[in-house]
Amino acid sequence: MSKPDVVIAAAYSRWLNTILETHAKQLWDAADGDLDDNELNENWELLPEQLRRRLWGLSSDLFSLVDNEKFTDADWEPIPLQELANRLEESFQKRQWDEVLDLLRRPPRFVASDHVSYIRGRAWQELGQHDVALKFFDNASRLKPGHAPYRILALECLKAACDWQEAISRANQYSLDPTSSPSLLFRAGDVFHAYSMTGGEDQGELAKRAVDVVNQGLDKLGTEQPPDSILVAAFVTKAFCLERLGRFDEALSTYDAGIQQFPGNPELLTARGLLRLEHNIGGSIDDFRSAVTLFARSVWPYLELARNEFSQHKYDDALEWCRLGLERANRNRDADVALLFDLRALALFEKNDSAVAIERAFQTAVSLDPFNLAIRHNYERYLVVSRHPTQPVSGDWELSPLPIEEERRVLYQSVQRSHAPAA
């Protein structure tokens, strides 16, 4: 009988940690091994073949960290270099990470050793094991010292694993190193910002540090032209931190500078629109319109524009923004999409549209975000109004204030994620 996934996951996790620890402490030289650990041995027997192969492969690959990697060519059928290259590329594109890791061990081994370590790191990152990925990115850095993308990827792993002590330590180290590239400094700045968002102490100090380190990078821009996505992310990091420090004008100037350099970037326009929402609603709406014209992937400009039209009783326009938002925006966050369906339902109701369409929109909104009290209130109010059309109903629709902090957090993450440095 097959074991439950959770049992296999626990056994896998235990073996992963055992292998990492054995390598880190070179436990093979210890006089008393843990071969008598029956539970550990039984855990191995629980693992399916794919995971056993992955763990054996990891154990073998980890020897590359101490330049003691070995291969048994007899394990593999000969394969022409070009075919191996094609299969490697195809597996990488299809995100078949076990296959990628296997192919890297096959002869002919034509990929440079630092790049092999980078690809292994990417595979483990995608498999969700950031602590393992970190080891391979650090090894890639060892083999190609000073190469910023490897260090950046290591920082991303430390952030993902919430190892803030090490992440901050490295960010500080990079900020003090005169040879650090702008890209690396920008991502170091993001580490300070990300840590400040975890709600610990000294948030203001961390935000200030983030601004300083990003500025360091901006001052050095002549030495390296980072990828656009990294530079855009840097502007957003700096502006977010300035805003959190209450330095509104400086935050606005930062967005202005970013938009001047990247006028076609919808995320920068959306971020500036959110910043101006409370101070300059006209400018904010202009930014959202521009962002939408540029096919923004964030749901917020569509939602803000739709809400703006709704509040002015322009229900057709509100519906059009909702339609565009549902068509174009990234729909991987149900709670955000629910807001568009809620507004669509309200606009349809105000237009006296069909009850079926209104009902469908409300039901979709509720099913996408069952915990949103404003959506539930609107749906329940609609049910009362539609069943007793002649009776007056107290209260109004709840266009609750949008979670501005949440909007910014989601937008920030989308911008930071999009850079995904290639080595």
């Binding site: 006089a31 091994g33 192969r53 048994t72 007899a74």
Partner: protein, 92 residues
Amino acid sequence: MMRQLCSPKMVPKRLHDTGKIPGAIGPQSLHLFRHGEGSFEHSSVTEQLTLVPDGDDHATVQPSAVMVYADYRQALVNTRNDWVSGEDDPDE
């Protein structure tokens, strides 16, 4: 075979160093021995012991009949002189 059935910690690390079994991280105090020849078939090892395959390339040595543990253990010890180092064998 080894990599399907045993964990990396069940194979001494020196077999990694020699390039024989990459990834082996077992204690160096471990040793691999071979006993007998041929494929894994249900057969008699000694009068008291029987080879019972549980796969194409793996088997367990079991008592031929019900016996006390000490006798089984002694029966295994009695085969000691027939063991030879298997660390130079090809990995199948």
